[in-house]
Amino acid sequence: MGKGGTGRPASIVYAVRVDKIGRRAQLIRVIRAFLAVVIALIFLIPVFWMGTTAFKSRADVVSVPPKIFFKPTLEGFVNLLTERSVLTQALLEAARQRTDLKWYERIALNQGQEIMGLSEYVHRLRNSLIVATGSTVAAVTLGLLAGYAFSRFNVPGKADLLFFILSTRMLPAVVVTIPIFLMYRALGLHDTHLGLILLYTVFNLSLSVWLLKGFIDEIPREYEEAALVDGYTRFQAFRKVVLPQALTGIATTTVFCLIFAWNEYAFALMLTTEKARTAPPSIPAVLGRGGIEWAAIAAGSLGFLIPVMIVTFALRRYLLRGVTFGAIRQ
């Protein structure tokens, strides 16, 4: 900017003008940054509210006006993770005499209850974990193989095949749910882990194939050709040369598949009942049961949300790239 102070009036005027513009631009930048921070905070209020509600006691949850500062407790989590029964007065007195109570047992006891064992939520979270992991591994593996083949070989009708794969995702779930429900019932896949894993794998495959093909396209073919010249077989070249290079792409794809499978609600609601039911469809069901335990619900939602948040934050660079990438290609 105004580097040369030669003393000539014209250039001084020029320098002053540049300075003025520079200062204005600076001010605009600060205002912009400030606005962005404010909006980000507004976006985070609901998440913050849920996070704090999970640690509130019953009285604090329903306090009017809403409490920002409160004494944190793990009551909500204990209520969420355990099945409890109400104690009679005599049994309660007897239980209070005991000295070997664990802290979570004491929380239940304070409410006049006794812990019977783990709650359904634990079981459903386990189902979620099995289904999400299984389908993600399957979708990424199949997607990687197909993506590699589409990227490197002259597959006849390649464009049509790729479009077909993409089109499977355009179908609204509502259209295919009914026949899949009937099909699953006939095949005995209803309310099984395998059924959900298959379905989520299929649903994620289009994205997985397209994303991974794009990432593999960017790896120079020369690497493999060199390996082939060195006497590797195609498969060895794929495993030892392409695979390590494609790790970023694999990470991105994994996150997307995982988030979908972890959050999916509609299929899980319609295709499972008890044994294989995942966490999302069981969360609203909690509401229906008599008195609403908001702290427990918030704790459940939080427990369900934290893994996704960690993954999102850890892989944010790849994620930003993957989202825009997929969108532009489509």
Partner: protein, 310 residues
């Protein structure tokens, strides 16, 4: 598989059998994916098309009976269903418009990098990573008229005078729209950001030399360049709105009354709850599919036009 010793053979540049094994390899790599997609998509699609012409009910113990176009006729004559379609349309219009404005605005704010802008961008993205049904559920708490934070932040300090967003038929749809906008504006922002970053710098440099005002630069350079991505966002979000199901189920379940009964929610009710009208709901599903394809085609045609000019 192979003995690793073969790696040493440097002097074999050409494999006579490589072509063949390549062919086998890509078949092996692509086949499982295609088989799975065909099995899980083609069959359900045709089967539900067939069912839409029958009176089948999944809990009745009798085979489907062909009834021709009767399901379609009864749906198209059902006034109540048109109300649900209209609600879905309004929901799509409100939420998509707001998402475009907010998402684009945010992208403009975050366009030039500053200290911490990366972290802010990631934090704003959190809502779209969440499960819609969980989001619906905890917003229920936020909207609660007596101890929810939403009314409180809007300035209603007296709970008895504050609106009950989810119980008031006039406000309930807006309540769902607000949550949808909260969840998906970040997605629009992300698309816009990538569009903004792709605008070549020389366009602005040329404009500065021509002394074009910032306003002019915005209307003549920024907006036209981002327009295709904005349109993609509109397309995605509109399609999603017609399928909207989990957020509404978590938040209102279609109520109060039928104020937020979107068409996909109604479809679920007809297909699975109480009624189990499998044939009729298959027909409704197909009508929704036709609408989605129709809407997408209009957008895509417009998008291609935009790209052709750009």
């Amino acid at each position: 598989m192979h003995n690793m010793g073969t790696v040493q053979r440097r002097e074999v540049p050409f494999h006579p059998r490589r072509q063949l094994s390549d062919d086998a390899l890509w078949r092996l790599f692509i086949f499982p994916t295609l088989a799975l997609l065909i099995a899980m998509n083609i069959f359900p699609l045709f089967y539900s098309l067939y069912l839409s012409f029958t009176d089948y009910s999944a809990i009745a113990r009798k085979p489907p009976v062909w009834v021709g176009l009767q399901n379609y006729r009864s749906i198209l004559n059902d006034k109540q269903l048109w109300v649900y379609f209209a609600t879905t349309g309004r929901y799509a219009l409100f939420s998509v418009t707001l998402e475009m404005v907010i998402g684009f605005g945010l992208a403009m704010l975050l366009r030039e990098r500053f200290k911490g802008s990366g972290v802010i961008t990631t934090l704003i993205l959190i809502p779209m990573m969440l499960s819609p049904v969980v989001v619906g559920l905890f917003w229920k708490l936020i909207y609660n008229p007596s101890f929810g934070i939403f009314n409180y932040l809007l300035g209603f300090s007296d709970p008895s005078k504050a609106p009950d967003w989810l119980a008031n038929p006039k406000l309930a749809l807006w309540a769902v729209v607000i949550v949808d906008v909260w969840m998906w504006s970040p997605f629009v922002m992300l698309l816009c950001l990538s569009g903004l970053n792709a605008i070549p710098e020389y366009l602005y440099e040329a404009a500065v030399i021509d002394r074009a005002s910032p306003w002019f630069q915005f209307w003549r350079i920024t907006l036209p360049q981002v327009a295709p991505l904005l349109l993609i966002a509109v397309l995605f979000r509109t399609i999603e709105a017609f399928k909207a199901f989990d957020l509404v189920m978590g938040l209102t379940g279609g109520g109060p009354g039928d104020a937020t009964e979107l068409i996909a929610v109604n479809l679920y009710r007809q297909a699975f709850l109480g009624q189990w009208r499998t044939g009729r709901s298959s027909a409704l599903a197909y009508i929704i599919l036709v609408i989605i394809i129709g809407v997408s085609n209009v957008y895509i045609r417009y998008l291609n036009k935009l790209r052709g000019e750009g």
